[in-house]
C-alpha cells in the first residue's frame, strides 16, 4: 500500500521544474558512505486486505475483555463507553486536526478543550485544569516537579498506597534531580499510616503525593492528611479517580493544592494500557506554574467570544529550558473522548456510574468475604475496587477463574510488595449480579 499520489509522468515534470535529473540527485547532500545500500530488512508492503488479515490474525491470538468477564483494575477499568463517544471522537475533523496554534482555524477543538478543562475542574473540585498530560503516573511526576518549582524545596514524600507505577515513574523522574524521595508505608488498614507520614514531614518537604481511592481501592482520609501536610508548608498532591466524585467529595473540597489522575475511566478503551489520559488541576494561584497546554476564552477583533491557547509563555516552544515542563504533544484525542463521555453521561450519569460501582463492589466484597478461606485484606472504606486475602494459592484460583472465562482480579504478587496472598477485585457498573455471583461461586469451589 502506498499513500503517495504522484505519477511517474508528474515526477519527470517536477524534476524538470526543480532542474534535477533524478530524485536520487535530490539526496546528494547525504554522503555516499552514509547511504543505506539495498532495502531495509523489513518485508515489502502489503495491500489493505492483507494487512487486515495479518492484524486480525494477531488479534485472534489474544483473549480480550468482552470475550472474558473482567474484574481487573489496578488503574485501568472496564467501564461502559456510550456509542456516542466513538462516533463523535471518530469524526475526522477532530481526529486529524493539529495542535490548535492557529486559533481562528481551530475554534472547534479549542472550545472542546476549554469545556474539558471546566469539567475536570468540576470533578476535582479545583479552580483550573490543563488540556491533558500523558497518563496518571507521569501526571503525578509533573505535579511533583511543579510543587518543587513552587516551594523551592528539595524533598518529596509519596505514600506507597499509590499505584506502584506512579511510585516507579516518580523515582525515575526524580533520579535526575537533586531531590530526596521519601516513602510512607502502607498501614494495617490499607491506608497511609498517619504517624509514619508525620515522621516523614519536615520544613524541607515540597510535596506529599497521596492517591485516593488508593491502589488497593481504599479511600484515604485526605480530610485529615491534607491539614497535616499543610502544617509543614508542603503542597498536597492528590491523585484521584474522576469517577469517584459521583459519590465522594472531590479533593479540592479538602484544600488539595494540585489534583492529578488517570482519566482512562472517562470513556477510554483499555488498549492494553494506553494511550490514556493524564489529568492535572490546581488552585488558581498556581496556574502559571502548571505544565502543558491551557486553553483560554477571549474575544476577537469584533468582540465575539472565541478561544485560544493561553499562557504559552510557560511552554517549551517559547521558554525553552525555562519552561514549566518539556511536554509538547499531549493526549488531545483522549481529552476529547473524556469530554464527550462526560457530556453524554452528564451530572446524573456520573452519579449513577459511581453509585453502581459502589453498590456492586460492596455486594461482591461481602459475598467473597463470606467464603471459607477468603477475607477482605483491609478494613478501610473502598469505592469500586477491594483487596482480598486468601489462604489458597492466588495464582491457582485466578487461573481456574480464567479457564472459565473470568478475569478474577489482579494478583499483588506481580508488584513484589509482600502481599503475595492477596488479589484485587474491581467491579464496575458493567458487571451484572449474575457475573459477580459466577465469580463468587468459582472462588468458593476452589
Amino acid at each position: 500500500m502506498q499513500y503517495t499520489q504522484v505519477t511517474d509522468a508528474q515526477v519527470s515534470e517536477m524534476l524538470e521544474t526543480i532542474g534535477a535529473e533524478s530524485i536520487e540527485e535530490l539526496f546528494s547532500p547525504i554522503p555516499d558512505k552514509l547511504r543505506t545500500k539495498g532495502d531495509l530488512n523489513i518485508p515489502k508492503g502489503v495491500s489493505e486486505l492483507e494487512l487486515l488479515r495479518d492484524t486480525e490474525s494477531l488479534a485472534g491470538r489474544n483473549h480480550a475483555t468482552g470475550e472474558l468477564i473482567s474484574f481487573l483494575g489496578g488503574g485501568a477499568y472496564d467501564h461502559f463507553i456510550p456509542t456516542v463517544v466513538d462516533a463523535m471522537s471518530g469524526q475526522s475533523e477532530l481526529l486529524t486536526a493539529y495542535t490548535p496554534y492557529q486559533a481562528e482555524a481551530s475554534q472547534g477543538v479549542l472550545q472542546l478543550f476549554y469545556e474539558f478543562q471546566t469539567m475536570i475542574c468540576e470533578l476535582t473540585g479545583m479552580d483550573v485544569a490543563n488540556a491533558s498530560l500523558y497518563e496518571g503516573a507521569s501526571a503525578a511526576a509533573e505535579a511533583t516537579l511543579m510543587a518543587i518549582n513552587i516551594t523551592r524545596r528539595k524533598r518529596v514524600v509519596i505514600a506507597e498506597t499509590a499505584h506502584p507505577d506512579t511510585v516507579s515513574v516518580l523515582r525515575t523522574y526524580l533520579a535526575q534531580q537533586d531531590v530526596e524521595l521519601a516513602t510512607v508505608q502502607v498501614g494495617e488498614d490499607g491506608c497511609i499510616d498517619s504517624q509514619s507520614l508525620s515522621a516523614k514531614l519536615n520544613g524541607e518537604t515540597a510535596a506529599v503525593i497521596v492517591q485516593s481511592p488508593n491502589f488497593f481501592g481504599c479511600i484515604e482520609r485526605i480530610d485529615r492528611l491534607i491539614p497535616m501536610i499543610h502544617e509543614h508548608g508542603a503542597l498536597a498532591i492528590v491523585s484521584t479517580d474522576p469517577i469517584a466524585s459521583g459519590l465522594l467529595k472531590p479533593p479540592g473540597t479538602f484544600d488539595a493544592d494540585i489534583v492529578v489522575g488517570e482519566g482512562q475511566a472517562l470513556g477510554i478503551p483499555l488498549q492494553y494500557g494506553g494511550p490514556y489520559l493524564g489529568l492535572l488541576a490546581a488552585k488558581e494561584k498556581y496556574l502559571r506554574k502548571m505544565p502543558g497546554r491551557v486553553v483560554g476564552m477571549t474575544n476577537d477583533l469584533d468582540g465575539r467570544r472565541g478561544f485560544c491557547l493561553a499562557l504559552q509563555t510557560r511552554e517549551q516552544h517559547i521558554k525553552r529550558e525555562r519552561a514549566t515542563s518539556n511536554i509538547c504533544t499531549n493526549q488531545g484525542l483522549l481529552a476529547m473522548r473524556a469530554s464527550i463521555y462526560l457530556a453524554t453521561m452528564g451530572k446524573q450519569g456520573i452519579a449513577a456510574v459511581a453509585t453502581q460501582c459502589f453498590d456492586k463492589s460492596h455486594y461482591a466484597a461481602t459475598s467473597i468475604a463470606e467464603l471459607d478461606g477468603y477475607e477482605l485484606a483491609f478494613d478501610a472504606p473502598f469505592f469500586k475496587e477491594f483487596t482480598v486475602r486468601t489462604t489458597k494459592s492466588v495464582d491457582k484460583l485466578l487461573s481456574v477463574c480464567r479457564d472459565s472465562g473470568i478475569l478474577g482480579g489482579v494478583a499483588l504478587s506481580r508488584f513484589a510488595m509482600g502481599l503475595d496472598d492477596c488479589f484485587m477485585v474491581a467491579v464496575t457498573e458493567k458487571r451484572s449480579k449474575q457475573e459477580i455471583d459466577a465469580l463468587v461461586e468459582m472462588l468458593g469451589a476452589i
Binding site: T4, Q5, F27, I30, L34, R35, T36, P43, E48, A59, N62, H63, A64, L68, S70, M88, G90, L94, L95, A97, T99, E104, G108, V109, Y114, E115, T118, M119, E122, A129, E135, A137, V169, Q176, I219, D223, K249, P269, Q271, Y272, G274, L287, G296, M297, T298, N299, G306, L311, N326, I327, C328, T329, G332, L333, L334, A343, T344, G346, K347, P381
Partner: protein, 515 residues
Amino acid sequence: MTTTTTKREVGQTPPKQVAPPGRKPELKTKASYSTTGDHPLLFELGAPGLCGSGLPVSDVPNADRTTNLPVEMLATSLPALPEVGELDVVRHYKRLAHRCFSIDENFYPLGSCTMKYNPRINERVAFIPGLANLHPYQSDSDTQGMLELLYRLRCDLQEISGLPEVTLQPAAGAHGEMTALMIITAYHRSRGEHRTKVLAPDSAHGTNPASCAICGHKAVTVKSKPDGRVDLDDLRAKVDQDTAAFMITNPNTTGIFDEQIAEIAEIVHAKGAQLYLDGANMNAILGITRPGDFGVDCMHFNTHKTFSTPHGGGGPGAGPVGVAEHLRPFLPVPQVIENGNGSFAWCDDREKSIGKVRSFFGQVGVLVRAYAYIRSLGCDGLKDVSQKAVLNANYLAAKLKERFNLPFPGPYAHEFILIPDFAGDGVSENDVAKRLIDYGIHPPTMSWPIHHCLMIEPTETESKRTLDNFVDVMNKIADEVAENPSIVKNAPHTMPVRRLDEVAASRKPNVRWKA
C-alpha cells in the same frame, strides 16, 4: 473586495456578530450555523435532569453509604457536569468538528510536524476488539498476538534506525528525548562521570532544551552557520569533558541534511559525549540513511509524524527511543522480548535500567497504528515515502523561489524555509499565515527557526495539484499585498472568529466556564 454570497468566498467579511462572553448567541441562518459567530458551550445547552445515556437498573442490593463511607467524605452535591440529551450532544460535537481545520480537509504544510495523511485502515486496526480491549494486567498467555505485534514493531524500528535496541515505552517525542537524556546520564554515571551540559544547535526544537532542564542539565546553544549547518568551530569550542550529549536534528529544521554529520559525531565522541538525534525529521531519510550508520548513539521517533498516527488536536503520540550497544543496559523497563521458543513476554530484568517512564506498557494503541502503517508500506513503500516527501518539498521550493526569498540554498530534504519579504508594506509572516487560512490552507510553521520565516513541509501524500494550488495562493497573496495589503493584514475573513486577543487570554486568563 468580492461581493459574492458563498460563505467561504475569500476576502468576504462576515456581518458583524458582536457577542460578548456569556450572552445568548443570536439566531443564525442554517448555512452559517456551524462556521460563523460563536457556538454555545455545553454548559449553555440542555436543562436540569437531562442525561445523554442510561445504565441498566442496578441488580444488586444498595450498599449503605453511611456505614460503608466516612460521612465527612460523602458528596453532598454533584459536580456541575452538563445535562444534555443525546441528540444535542451529537449536534454539539458535530458543530465543533465543523469549526476545525484537519488533514482530511485541508493542506497542512506545517514544517517539522509532518502532517501527512492518516490512513483510515490504521484506525480500523486499532479498534479490532482483540487489540483494543486488552487489559494491561492480563497474562502474557492471553496477549501473545499483541506482544508479537509490539515485538515486530520494535524490530522494524531497530532496522529503520540502524540501532540495536528500541524501547516502545515513551509517550511522545519530548518524553522520548527526556528518556534518552536519562539513559545518557545513567551511562555517564556508570562510568563515574557527572556531566552537566547538553549542547543543541540554535535551530533545535524547544523541547530539546526543556528536556535538558527536566534532567537537571544545563542547555548550551551551538551556533549554526549562515547556510543552516552546524558551526563546527563553535561546536569544538563548546563540547568538553563536562558535555553529556549533543542533540541534533538531521535533516535540520532549515530543511538541510547536514553532511558534516560524521565529523560532528567524531568531534562529540572525542570528548566522551553522546550524539543524540531528534527524530522529528525522519520522514526525509527512511530507507535512505540510518542514524545508527551516521554515528548517532541515541534517538527518538515521533510516530505521529513519521508513521502517520493522527494528531487528535494535540496528541496522542508515541516516542520510541533507539540506542547503540553501549546504552542498552540503561533502557527503561519493561521491554517486549521474544523468548526464543516463538512466544513473547514483557521483561523487567535490566539491572542498570533508568526504571519506568510511564505506567503500564506505553501508548500501545498508537503503536498499533504505527505497526499497521509500517506493515502496509514495507521497505519499498517507506523509501518511496522519503523520496516523494523530498521531491514534493524541492518542487514547491523551486516554484516559490521565483517570487519569494528562500534564504538557504537547496537541494532540500523534506522541508524548507521561506521569508515573505513584505515588511515594507507592513505585512508580517503572521499576516500571510492568517491569509492562507482564508484559502483553506493551514499556515506553515512560523517565525522559527529564524525570524520572520515560514517553514514549509508538504509531505509525500500531497498531489501535484495541491502543491500547484499552494503556489498559486502564495502568489495571489503577494499580489494582494501589492494591491490591497489590508485584506492580508486583517485576515482571516472566513473563519467563525476574526483574530483573537491572545494577550488578554494570558493577562486575564479565563480557563474554565463559570455560570
